[in-house]
C-alpha cells in the first residue's frame, strides 16, 4: 500500500510542475503590457515605470519570474495582483471562505438529497414516484447552474422575497442565508446526476443474487435496501461525490458571478477578463492542485477498498 501511495504522490508532483509551467506560459501568450495593465494605461514617468517593474518582479526574465512565483508558492507568497495592487495570498485569504462554504453547502445537499432520492427511486422502480424523480432529474441535468441561479433569483426576489439577491453575510451563519440559493444552483445538476447514479447502482444491487438470498431468509425490505444493497452501491457513489467537490470549484465561477459572491471563482473570472496574471496563474494552479488531491484521495480509497487496484 505504501508503494502504491508513493507512486501516486510522485506522479502528482511531476504533473503539478508540468502544469505550473504550462499555466505560467499560457497566461503570458496574450498580447499585453503588464505595466499598462497595472497603471490602467495611464502615462507615467520612466522612473515610475521602472519602480513598478521592480515591485512586480517584471524586471526579471520569464524564467526568473517563474522561479520567483513557484518558489513563493511554497512560502505562501503568490505575488501581487495587477488589478488590486495587493498580495494574491491576501486576496485569497478573504475569498476562499465563501467558496469553501458554497461548495460545502452544495456537497451537503448532494449527499442528503441525491442519495436518499436515488435509493427511493430504485426501491420503487417504475412507479409513478420513480418516473417523476427521473423526469425532474432530467430537467435539472439539462439546466446549467447559472441559468438555474437566475431562475431561482427571480423567483425568490420578485415572487417570494425571502432570500437576498446578491452578496454575502458578515459571518458563517448569516452566510447560510446568502449562500442558500447559490448552493442550490450549484448542486442542482450534481444532485440530479448523483441521484441517477445512485438509482442505477441500487437497481443493479437489488437484482444481485445476494439480495434474493436475503429476501429468502425473510429479511425486511427496509433492511435489504438500506443495510445490504446501499452499502454495496455506496462505493461508486462516494467516488462521484468526491470528484463532484473538485468539479464544483470550477463550476462555482459562473454561480459566484450571478449571485455576486466574493469567492475564488469570481476572483478568477475577473482576473481573466482583466489580464491579472498573478491572480489567474495562482488560482488556476491551486484549483489544479485541489483537483489532483481529490483524485489522489479517490485513488487511495480505491486501493483500500479494492486491493486489486494496487496490483495495477
Amino acid at each position: 500500500m505504501f508503494r502504491y501511495v508513493s507512486k501516486r504522490v510522485i506522479q502528482l508532483v511531476i504533473v503539478f510542475f508540468i502544469v505550473s509551467i504550462l499555466i505560467f506560459a499560457v497566461v503570458r501568450m496574450t498580447p499585453l503590457d503588464p505595466i499598462a495593465s497595472i497603471s490602467k494605461g495611464k502615462a507615467m514617468s520612466e522612473e515610475t515605470r521602472l519602480a513598478l517593474m521592480r515591485e512586480y518582479d517584471l524586471d526579471k526574465s520569464w524564467a526568473g519570474q517563474y522561479f520567483s512565483w513557484i518558489g513563493g508558492l511554497f512560502r505562501g507568497d503568490l505575488g501581487k495582483s495587477f488589478q488590486y495592487r495587493e498580495a494574491v495570498s491576501d486576496l485569497l485569504s478573504v475569498r476562499y471562505k465563501t467558496s469553501v462554504q458554497l461548495v460545502a453547502m452544495s456537497t451537503v445537499m448532494i449527499v442528503f438529497l441525491a442519495i436518499p432520492l436515488g435509493v427511493i427511486s430504485a426501491a420503487h422502480k417504475n412507479s409513478l414516484l420513480d418516473q417523476t424523480l427521473t423526469v425532474t432529474s432530467l430537467v435539472f441535468v439539462s439546466s446549467p447552474p447559472f441559468f438555474t441561479g437566475i431562475l431561482l433569483m427571480l423567483l425568490f426576489t420578485m415572487v417570494w422575497p425571502i432570500f437576498p439577491t446578491f452578496g454575502t453575510g458578515s459571518d458563517f451563519w448569516s452566510n447560510m442565508k446568502y449562500l442558500f440559493l447559490p448552493s442550490v444552483s450549484l448542486a442542482a445538476v450534481r444532485i440530479a446526476l448523483s441521484m441517477r447514479i445512485t438509482r442505477s447502482n441500487m437497481v443493479e444491487q437489488l437484482q444481485a443474487p445476494y439480495i434474493q438470498t436475503a429476501t429468502a431468509k425473510g429479511l425486511s425490505r427496509r433492511t435489504i435496501v438500506y443495510k445490504h444493497a446501499l452499502k454495496n452501491a455506496a462505493i461508486p457513489i462516494m467516488t462521484v461525490t468526491a470528484l463532484d467537490i473538485s468539479g464544483m470549484l470550477g463550476g462555482s465561477v459562473l454561480v459566484e458571478k450571478v449571485f455576486s459572491l466574493n469567492g475564488v471563482g469570481s476572483l478568477l473570472a475577473d482576473s481573466i477578463t482583466k489580464s491579472d496574471y498573478p491572480v489567474t496563474q495562482s488560482i488556476t494552479l491551486i484549483m489544479v492542485l485541489v483537483f489532483m488531491l481529490c483524485n489522489l484521495f479517490v485513488d487511495i480509497m480505491y486501493g483500500i477498498i479494492d486491493p486489486r487496484v494496487r496490483l495495477d
Binding site: 496574450t30 503590457d33 495592487r85 437576498p164 446578491f166 452578496g167 454575502t168 482583466k274 489580464s275
Partner: protein, 536 residues
C-alpha cells in the same frame, strides 16, 4: 410524526431566513439610514492616487475631497480652497481653507495639502495621476494658507487638474504611519469627506460610516452608512434595483436602460457624458493612411441602423467633431454653432464607392477590428459595421480581446516590426478627464501622444494640427485658445482619422425614496453623497 417534525423544521428555517432578510437590507434598520449603492467591481484602492475609474472614484469621493470641484454646468469652483488664480501663465496660487478638519477631528494643515499634491510625483507610489504633473516644477506653501504651483511652461488645462482625484487631500500623518498599506482593505485612508472608511470585503462590498466631524455644516445628508455592493451581472443589478436591495447605480450596461425604465420604484436620470466611442483607424498602416479609404468607410456605415438596432436611447449619434457638448464649457455657443454647420455622418453608398475607387484599393481589402469582450454593445456595433462594409468588398474580421489587451493596443504599448502601432482598427472609447475640448483634441490627435502611454490611437500625424494644439496648450487667453482649437478641428474633420459613432450618455438609476441634492452627476470626479437624503 417524523414527517410532521421535518415539515415544521423546514418551515422554521424558511421563516428565519425571511426574518433575517427583512432586517439586513432595510433602509432604516435600528433607525440607521443605510444607502445601498451598486458598483460594477472593486475599487483599485481606497486612495485618490488610484481613483481613476468609476468604482474607485465613487468610494474615494466620499472619504476625501479635492481643492476644486465643478458647478452643475461643469465650470470650476473652489472646494477645499477659498479661491485660486493664475498670477502668470506658469504660476497658479491657491488660497486654502483654514476651517477644514479630517474625519478623526484633527485640522487639515498646509503640510497635509502640500504632501497630498506632492505624493503623486513619488515614483514608488505609482500614482495614476502622475501624468497630470509632468509640467510641474514646484509645489510650495507660500503663505500661512497659500499654496503655489509653478509650471515649466504655460499650460491652459492645468486649471482643471486639482478638480480631479489629483487635487484630493489626505492626512499626511496617517499616510506616513501606514506607508505601504495606505488604501488597502486593512487601513483605508483618512480624508476630509462626509464619510469614513469602515470596511472593504474584496469582491463583495465596501462600507463607509458617517463622518461625525464633517467640517461642511451645510451638508444635507441623513445617511448613516453607505454600503457599496459589487454586482457585475446585469440580471442581478436589475433584480436588486427592482426589489429595492440597491438604491443607486451609476455603472450598469447600456443594455439595461430599457429594462430599468420600466421599473416604477426607480428613477432613471440621463445626461450627455464626457466620453466618445469610435473606430480608430491606424493612420500609419496601409490602406488607412489614405483619407479616401477612411472617408469611403465613413460613408458606408449606416449609423441610423446602428442606433435603431443596437445603441437605441443609450447614446447620442456621433458626428464629425470628436467630442460631446459636455466639453463645451468655454464659448459653448460658438462650439454648438460649429457642430451645426458641419453636420453629422452621412450614409451614402455611392459616395463611399467613389472614395474607394479613388484610393489604392478600389476593389476592397481585408482588415481586422479589435474590440473588448467587456463591451458587448461595441461588439454588436462592430457586427453591423462588418455587414455594412461588405457592400464595398471590404472584409472586416472582428477579434475580441480583454479590456486590458485593448488598453495595451490603445495606449501604444504594442508595436509591430516597423515600430508602429500593431493593429488595423480599434473599436474603443475615450473619456475626457476634464470638461474642455482640449481634453479630447490633444490626447487623441497630437503626435506627441502616439508612443507608449499615449492616447493617439489612430496614430494620426499632421504637422499643422500638432502646431495648433501645442500652441493652444500654452495659450492662456481662452478666446485665442479656442480659435486655435477651431482651426485644428477644421483639419481633423476633413481628415477623419477616427469614426466617432457614439457620444456616450451617462445614466444614474436611483430609488424614488431618495433625492440626490445638488450633486453634479455628469462628472465622475464630483460624485459626492453629502447632499443625498432618504425621504422614505
Amino acid at each position: 410524526m417524523k414527517k410532521i417534525l421535518c415539515v415544521c423544521l423546514i418551515i422554521a428555517m424558511l421563516a428565519s431566513f425571511a426574518a433575517c432578510s427583512s432586517t439586513d437590507n432595510g433602509k432604516a434598520s435600528d433607525e440607521k439610514v443605510v444607502l445601498n449603492v451598486h458598483m460594477n467591481g472593486d475599487p483599485v484602492a481606497i486612495d485618490p492616487a488610484f481613483a481613476y475609474d468609476n468604482a474607485s472614484s465613487l468610494v474615494v469621493n466620499q472619504i476625501t475631497e479635492s481643492l476644486l470641484t465643478h458647478n452643475p454646468d461643469n465650470t470650476l469652483k473652489p472646494n477645499l480652497c477659498k479661491s485660486f488664480e493664475a498670477t502668470d501663465p506658469c504660476t497658479y496660487v491657491y488660497q486654502i481653507r483654514d476651517d477644514v478638519t479630517f474625519s478623526d477631528g484633527t485640522p487639515m494643515t498646509m503640510d497635509d495639502v502640500i504632501y497630498s499634491i506632492q505624493r503623486h510625483l513619488d515614483a514608488d507610489l505609482g500614482s495614476y495621476m502622475n501624468w497630470f504633473f509632468a509640467n510641474v516644477t514646484s509645489v510650495e506653501a507660500t503663505g500661512e494658507w497659500e499654496m503655489t504651483i509653478k509650471l515649466a511652461e504655460p499650460q491652459a488645462t492645468w486649471q482643471y487638474v486639482l478638480a480631479t482625484s489629483a487635487g484630493m487631500i489626505v492626512q499626511k500623518k496617517f499616510c506616513e504611519e501606514h506607508a505601504g498599506d495606505v488604501g488597502t482593505a486593512s487601513v483605508g485612508i483618512i480624508g476630509t469627506g462626509p464619510f469614513v472608511f469602515e470596511k472593504w470585503e474584496n469582491g463583495s462590498k465596501v462600507i463607509l460610516k458617517k463622518n461625525e466631524n464633517y467640517w461642511d455644516k451645510t451638508a444635507k445628508t441623513n445617511v448613516d452608512e453607505i454600503i457599496f455592493s459589487i454586482i457585475s451581472d446585469d440580471t442581478t443589478i436589475a433584480t436588486a434595483l427592482k426589489s429595492g436591495q440597491v438604491d443607486f447605480s451609476w455603472d450598469f450596461s447600456s443594455k439595461l436602460v430599457e429594462t430599468i425604465q420600466g421599473f416604477e420604484n426607480v428613477e432613471l436620470k440621463s445626461w450627455s457624458g464626457m466620453g466618445i466611442e469610435y473606430l480608430a483607424f491606424n493612420n500609419m498602416r496601409k490602406p488607412f493612411d489614405e483619407v479616401n479609404v477612411r472617408k469611403a468607410i465613413a460613408y458606408a456605415i449606416d449609423l441610423d441602423s446602428i442606433f435603431d438596432n443596437v445603441i437605441k436611447d443609450s447614446g447620442i449619434k456621433g458626428d464629425l467633431l470628436p467630442m460631446t457638448d459636455s466639453l463645451f464649457t468655454i464659448e459653448a455657443d460658438r462650439w454648438k454653432q460649429y457642430v451645426a454647420e458641419h453636420g453629422g455622418h452621412v450614409y451614402d453608398l455611392d459616395k463611399a464607392k467613389e472614395y474607394l475607387a479613388a484610393s489604392s484599393v478600389p476593389n476592397g481589402f481585408d482588415f481586422t477590428m479589435y474590440v473588448s469582450q467587456a463591451r458587448s454593445q461595441a461588439y454588436d456595433v462592430a457586427l453591423v459595421i462588418q455587414q455594412n462594409l461588405k457592400a464595398l468588398n471590404i472584409n472586416a474580421e472582428i477579434v475580441t480581446l480583454t479590456q486590458d489587451e485593448v488598453y495595451a493596443y490603445q495606449f501604444g504599448n504594442i508595436l509591430d516590426a516597423d515600430g508602429i502601432r500593431d493593429y488595423d482598427c480599434l473599436v474603443t472609447t475615450w473619456g475626457a478627464d476634464y470638461p474642455d475640448p482640449s481634453a479630447n483634441l490633444d490626447p487623441l490627435f497630437n503626435i506627441a501622444n502616439i508612443g507608449a502611454g499615449g492616447y493617439n490611437c489612430a496614430a494620426y500625424s499632421n504637422d499643422e494640427v500638432d502646431s495648433l494644439l501645442n500652441k493652444a496648450v500654452t495659450t492662456t487667453d481662452e478666446s485665442e485658445r479656442m480659435d486655435l482649437l477651431f482651426r485644428a478641428c477644421d483639419i481633423i474633420v476633413a481628415d477623419e482619422p477616427y469614426y466617432v459613432y457614439n457620444y456616450t450618455k451617462g445614466f444614474a438609476a436611483f430609488n424614488k425614496n431618495w433625492t440626490l441634492g445638488d450633486m453634479n452627476i455628469t462628472c465622475a470626479w464630483d460624485w459626492n453623497f453629502k447632499d443625498v437624503v432618504y425621504n422614505g
